[in-house]
Amino acid sequence: MMGSDTRFLLILALPFLAAALAPILFRRLPAIAAAGLALFPAAAFAILLSALAPVAGGTAILAGFNWIPELGIHFSVRLDGLSLVFALLITGIGTLIVLYAGAYLGQHRDRGRFFAFILLFMGAMLGLVLADDLATLFVFWEMTSVTSFLLIGFDHEREAARRAAIQALAITGGGGLALLAGFLTIREVAGLGSMTQILASGEALRMTAAYPAILILVLCGAFTKSAQMPFHVWLPNAMEAPTPVSAYLHSATMVKAGVYLLLRLNPALGGTALWETILPAFGSVTLVGGALLALRASDLKMVLAYTTVASLGLLVMLIGAGSQEAVAAAVLYLIAHSLFKGGLFMVAGSIDHGAGTRDIERLGGLRAAMPLTFAAALLCALSMGGVTPLVGFLAKETIYHALVEGDAASALLLIAAVAGNALMFAAAFLVALAPFVGDRPGAIAHPHEGPPALWLAPLVLGGLGLAAGLFAPAFHAAFSVPMASSAAGRPVAIDIGIAPHINLPFALSLATIAIGIVLYLTASRLRRALVRGLEAIGWGPDRGFDQMMRGLLRGAFGITRILQNGRLDIYITVTFTVIALAVWLPMTLTGTLPAVPVMPHLRFYEWMVLALILIGIFAVVRAKNRLTAIVSLGIQGFAVALLFMLLGAPDLSFTQFMVETLSVVVLALVMTRLRLSPSDHRPWREMLPDVALAVAGGAGIGLFLLRLTQRPFDNALSDFFTAYSRTIAHGRNIVNVIIVDFRGVDTMGEIAVVMTTGLAILALIGIRVIRRDGAPAAVSPAAPAAGEARP
């Protein structure tokens, strides 16, 4: 069932509108700017809520217009269970983030810019999940990469922030290009241009021969965006961004774009052996690796960033596991993760704000000073640890349930899931419990709660996690079932509740928590061991990125040195070689060499003029001194003028006479001052290649002209000018009429060129000559100044 409603096209404009307003608002009304801007995503959220009922009923709402009809590209959106939940998360968490950021940034100088960027990102992300047309989706996909670049590099005066921004852009942008190639392949091979078409195509994509190529290209896009190992390095580095950005882009929304794409394409691309091999392989490695790296870190944000990497790995692994229940588990975990991870990041920011540090080893005893933040942190951490009655519990039970029923391969995935979840349990409480309990170190002088938005926003997210667990049936009906059904491509039933049942998944849950507690208690020893281990390895993908970038620069530099070597003779040699090839190759390859011409019947004086030209040009080459060269150049020029005269072109002839005269005079003036020899003193060995190229080029052009003149001539233009010169333009000299009338604007351009050249010459003569060593030069440049060494 499908419906149409343009309201959902309009909500896309809201964040962009807010982004445009942000800088002005912060300049004029700084006190209420953040709250005012939060109204925009809140309004979008409210409109989206109105779609809950029809979408839960199985309707997909479509809207859009023709964008580039010539290419069959539409600007269209599709609102179904999957995109609706994503859109609600983006606008809902986005509203909280805007409020939180308003309090977090305080009186920061560049607040306006920051809010413009983050709202731009919100619009891009909303467009990404709503987009139906593949081209629309790709545009928004890249827009999220670009806005993420801007936000990570927000503090652009630090090199670390610049590096992180470039790294994120290079990795996600590179993946985006692969995704574009994948989309184009889908379009070319299967003729599918939108998600709606793809979802309706059934087996079409899986059956094409290009399926492996499509899959790998799409996965390149999804894996880079969703930070699967080894592309994960940009995500921890993105923690250079201000904390609200980390909470929003790099945990709750953008990094899930890849997961969104996989869920979206699961009905069309999933279910194959390739899909069920690649996804779990990458996902499980990322899950365990990310969770281990999380325990190595001591910065709260880094711990959270690596658990995000691990969570994304878990999601990819579940999507790849294939079963309907695994997809349901992925959906539940995705929602739970957005809530608790966004909240935990905000908590980390509040701790930083209140205690002045984010280092786990220097934090402790904040519970009395920051009770509300502590409460929010605990709510989120319990959800992350999968403790009932929070939504994280529902997710973890479903994950284990989905993996328990599988074969031997899914037993491996089950082990990975338990290990990853236990590690993440420990990480969650390292962030949410360790800073608040124990004794307060003396270094933390005045811990304090921040403004209300700093503790309220994470508290709301934690509370939502609790509410989703407590009202599980309603939560499933409104959110998880429609979303899972969209992602699975058929109706999915989810009935997991908060009451534990005694079965294998529950036992695994208990085991996870037990291992997690042990890991938490031994965290500092574990961290030291992990740090030592990683130091022993030394190399990692992060350092690999640096090596790649340096290699790229060196390679580009080397190629530039070859191509732009600064030697004019090489440039000219290349240019004329290409010209000679361009003339010769088509003629010889297509067999269109000119016919051997008959000896032309020319009058005696015509032969003489032609001979004069030839004598002149050879004399120029062979000239041993300046005077001979100048005179010879004059001879050939005047001979050309004579030729024009003989061939019915008196205007050309007069102009040529004048120009040649001037050229000879100017040349004589300059050359006598320069005392330069016009002749060439080079051994034959060096001259031969030049001679060969000159002969090849000259012969090629000559043959080309001969061939041209042997073909029939199209007189249309000349006839037009001849016929209308007198009747329309009232001139008798047709050449003059063409120049001043038919092509008058051209002539004006020509005059402008001549005038500009004159001015440039004037300027060149006017400037005072400064020698390279700084001393003013003598006007007569007889010899370099004394003591001046020239290589």
């Binding site: 015509e606 050939q636 052009i701 001539f713 000349s718 010169s725 007198r726 047709i734 060149l764």
Partner: protein, 125 residues
């Protein structure tokens, strides 16, 4: 006539290319003048050169009384002659100032824009 012109054009191009391949600015300038003439004659010959009457309409007629030379290439060449002259004049003065400044007319030694010992660009971020 076109065949003879094609030969002359080929010769002009060959000599012009040879001179342009030299490393001495003055020889390159000479080559440039020859190249300009070669291109002009090429355009002329491409418009055919059989008729020799100038394209001028008699006083008492609206169109020429006999077949005239092709006016279109002539108009093009007229523009080209002027442009190539101003180009030549500018280059000549430029070469003169360069010689005053650098003390050489060897293009291999004019390495200000693209120095031979260029360093790697900064490798940081």
């Amino acid at each position: 006539m076109e065949a003879a012109l094609a030969f002359v054009v080929g010769m002009l191009f060959a000599v012009a290319i040879y001179l342009l391949l030299s490393e001495h600015i003055i020889r390159m300038l000479l080559g440039l003048v020859l190249l300009g003439n070669g291109v002009n004659l090429l355009i002329f010959a491409a418009g055919r050169a059989s008729a020799v009457a100038p394209p001028i309409i008699p006083v008492d007629a609206d169109v020429p009384s006999a077949v005239t030379a092709n006016p279109l290439p002539q108009a093009l060449i007229l523009t080209a002659i002027v442009i190539s002259f101003s180009f030549f004049a500018f280059l000549l003065v430029l070469a003169y100032r360069v010689y005053q400044d650098l003390g050489t007319d060897d293009t291999d030694r004019m390495r200000l824009a693209e120095p031979e010992d260029d360093d790697l660009p900064p490798l940081g971020y």
